[in-house]
Symmetry: C2
Subunit: 293 residues, 2 copies
């Protein structure tokens, strides 16, 4: 009797075959066998495990906070990044890489000097009260069903599964357990400096280097796991170095205008690398029977 399919949201395509074959190879005695202790899988979060459009979920969180800050103190609207947000300056906001100092300053003003518990309460409030602009459900309901099945399938095969997000470690942790079954200690991400004061943990200004993107991803994975990943999944150019380290690399391709979004921007190099390196590309429109659960 055939066991029930652990990946029902995946169509029977070569992508699914490649996934199942790789897992079978590393978990079956023989040449390709990998001991359980070495079975580490890492997945980017934004655009890989959950929806990242029309903007990163964490950006929506930060913008909501900045809006509230401006409402409480209207003089803030004279300075960036508050000014761009209030005036709806899409060009300023779209080119965030040109404005890193102002953005870090804005984030530090919003969340610096508060305890990690206070920050968590704010994140939780955001998820409890905010809905996605087009899907009209909470952001925590926009994890991809096929990827959640994949995480569970890997755990059932004795993998330890980590998130490796360019976004905030302490932001993602608040939802990782409920959304993905990924314990907080398995969330790798960008962080702000935390200090210990009189028994409390306080978030301070700034961002710890390297951020968990691009060349920073293998560094963070090393720091947090002490291993190279056996499987890695991503969707964007910032995932290239992480994907290059793994034995089996997955690239989510956003080609599903109907059920999610279709875009290659920010993933051009990753898509080219995938072809050159024979990474497994996941076509959302072709490989997934379901996108959201």
């Amino acid at each position: 009797m055939q066991a029930s399919d652990p990946l029902p949201s995946w169509r029977a395509t070569p992508t699914k075959d490649a996934l199942v074959s790789f897992v079978a190879a590393v978990t079956t005695a023989g040449d390709g066998f990998v001991a359980p202790i070495d079975r580490i899988a890492v997945f980017d979060n934004d655009g890989t495990l959950w929806c990242e459009k029309p903007m990163y979920v964490q950006a929506a969180f930060i913008f909501a906070k900045w809006q509230a800050m401006v409402a409480a103190d209207p003089t803030l609207r004279e300075t960036q990044p508050f000014k761009a947000l209030v005036e709806g300056d899409r060009e300023w906001l779209a080119n965030i890489l040109d404005h890193v100092p102002e953005l870090v300053k804005g984030v530090s003003e919003a969340f610096g000097g508060i305890t990690t518990d206070d920050f968590e309460a704010q994140v939780r409030h955001f998820f409890d009260t905010t809905t996605h602009p087009t899907f009209a459900v909470g952001y925590h309901q926009l994890g991809y069903a096929p990827m959640k099945e994949l995480l569970e399938y890997l755990r059932a095969n004795e993998f330890r599964v980590f998130i490796c997000s360019g976004g905030g470690r302490d932001f993602v942790r608040v939802v990782s357990e409920d959304m993905y079954g990924i314990a907080r200690e398995h969330v790798i991400g960008t962080s702000v400096p935390v200090i210990y004061q009189h028994g409390r943990l306080i978030r301070t200004a700034g961002v710890e280097q390297p951020v968990d993107d691009g060349e920073g991803k293998p560094v963070h994975i090393w720091a947090r796991t002490g291993r190279r990943p056996l499987i890695a999944g991503g969707n964007a150019d910032g995932d290239i170095q992480m994907l290059s380290q793994a034995r089996f690399s997955l690239l989510v391709h956003h080609d599903d205008e109907e059920r999610e979004f279709a875009y290659d921007t920010g993933a051009e190099s990753a898509l080219a690398m995938a072809q050159a390196e024979q990474w497994t590309v996941i076509s959302m429109s072709g490989d997934w029977a379901t996108v959201f659960s």
Copy 2:
């Protein structure tokens, strides 16, 4: 029928009772129950899980490397820290806190610019070839049998068990799995900056702040686990902040001149805190039937 004792190296004392009672309380339905996801235990390493006398194991590793460097390049003996080592300047070496810049420089010269793989090979070579000066066995054979049983007992009760060492994260990881059954991702410790270059991970100069000692321990525990520890174990003043965070705190007291070493130096404040805060003090001479396996 009584199950076999999971802690046979512990004598039937109030210390063992306190341990078993606490674990029973948090794992049994009722007021004290703690969900498995929140069962985090953290243990200092030097002097808590393995022997730290006559010097830290990692110091022995570094000194052996410096000796080899001086042998290869005798001009090194003119500068610190090599000079103190070659001349056996115990006073200089004993007061390491007065010489942090020279020591960091010496460590950077010894291990900076090499890959994480090369560093691991050197650590492995050290453990394979070096023996403890008085016990005359490899340092990796000097883990405390009762503590190893305790780690296993906690895991059997669905705790995730972490090392939180003032020593080097990447040093301890090399032996944590074989010695303690603690996976590399569960080793928290002091680290040097690592960079990603052409697919390789390179150790660079310096030490990342904060070091994993004193106020740094709760910060590292937060960064690595996203939780406060339910159980914490330590033996020295640098463990006080970590122990203060836990619901159940254990302090190993080195009072066993016959089977190990007897010393309070560096633990005076921790011993006073233990009394004031009713932490559970482990008397090596009284509570342990066996010290080493």
